[in-house]
Symmetry: C2
Subunit: 222 residues, 2 copies
């Protein structure tokens, strides 16, 4: 996608993720065009992409709004992500080359360094974490699986959450990655899948605890 469309996509996405455009806010094409300094045409493209990623919802008659992610929606997305990434891990265990395994180890080392930095380098953590999961997905060799997961990993939620993680949680994440590496090294797909599912489901609960209190779910959405 080219300049203007990408620009529109990035700007709108950032405004949604930062909360500047709150859940439920109407996304008029002309207003967004002004905001991004482009015409309506690329804005329309951007809205379609964002709609595919479920950050934008279309009303019955084609008006766009910022999607609101209730805790149930988030749970739903995490559950699917756990299933799909678990499946990816299983496939990857059977297909991973030695070179890919090396790169995976390097990625997790980079994660460890980001965590150990003072203060912890959250941006670096996110970046390398993304690379780690991306490499597994690559080794799974299923373009369709990758396409499906793409709509789930770019959640509004994940990004805002990581900054709330303590060093404790980050270390645990790193440790689970180490266990994944061990499973890959042994070519044990079932093990890899189980670890991955646990890894992601734990991430969900970390999110839920941080955003909705440790006790019951408050039910009022985000």
């Amino acid at each position: 996608m080219s300049r203007a469309a990408n620009r529109a996509y990035s700007v709108i996405r950032d405004r949604i993720l930062s909360g500047e455009l709150p859940a439920g806010a109407q996304l008029g094409e002309e207003a967004l065009a002004d905001l991004c300094g482009v015409s309506r045409t690329p804005v329309r493209d951007a809205l379609r992409r964002l709609e595919g990623e479920l950050l934008v919802k279309r009303s019955d008659s084609q008006r766009c709004f910022v999607a609101d992610w209730s805790i149930d929606d988030v749970a739903d997305a995490f559950e699917l992500r756990a299933m799909l990434e678990g499946h990816a891990a299983r496939r990857a265990a059977d297909r991973m080359t030695e070179a890919a395994l090396q790169r995976l180890r390097a990625a997790n080392s980079a994660i460890r360094e980001a965590i150990s930095a003072e203060p912890a380098d959250i941006t670096g953590f996110l970046e390398h974490n993304r690379a780690f999961h991306g490499l597994i997905l690559e080794s799974a060799q299923s373009p369709r699986l990758a396409a499906l997961l793409a709509t789930l990993i770019e959640q509004p939620v994940v990004w805002r959450t990581a900054h709330h993680y303590g060093r404790e949680a980050l270390r645990r994440s790193h440790g689970e990655h180490e266990e994944l590496l061990a499973a890959f090294a042994r070519r044990d797909g079932a093990w890899a899948e189980a670890v991955m599912v646990a890894h992601i489901r734990r991430a969900f609960h970390a999110y839920a605890d941080a955003h909705h209190g440790l006790g019951a779910i408050d039910g009022q959405g985000r």
Copy 2:
């Protein structure tokens, strides 16, 4: 989506599914616009939708082509579909209302009638089969799951295949639906999931047998 965009979508989609636009054929926006009798703008929208459904592939630099589905691609898609619809069946078993169960029974009865017609009413079969699976997905109550499956169920492949099915295969499909209904009636999610996974994986092998011979896979794509 409105008139012209829908029109473009339908026309292009039909041409792809019918094989009139063969795999690998370039999809120039202007040519398609002429073909559909609309301007390039709605064609672009249609191409985006079709790209999401993986019927259209974009080259490195934004040129569109008819996607080619190799047997590996089809296997990949069916595997994911089995997993996701299995998951949907499990969820549906816990959430299905009595009313939904009734509608599901009605849908399968309609399927039986379509099969029994002389000659077998393939179009009716497909329609009611679609409704059957749609109802389960609805009862699963996971919008995101529905969105993911939407990209997998509309395969070029499925439609062209059903016409090759014998009455035998259609009846088996109906029988598996009956077993699903039993699982739903008992609220046995694990049973429902297992039956659904088997149902879809069998469908894949029926496809593979019909299109690539019963023995080894020929590997030359469709």
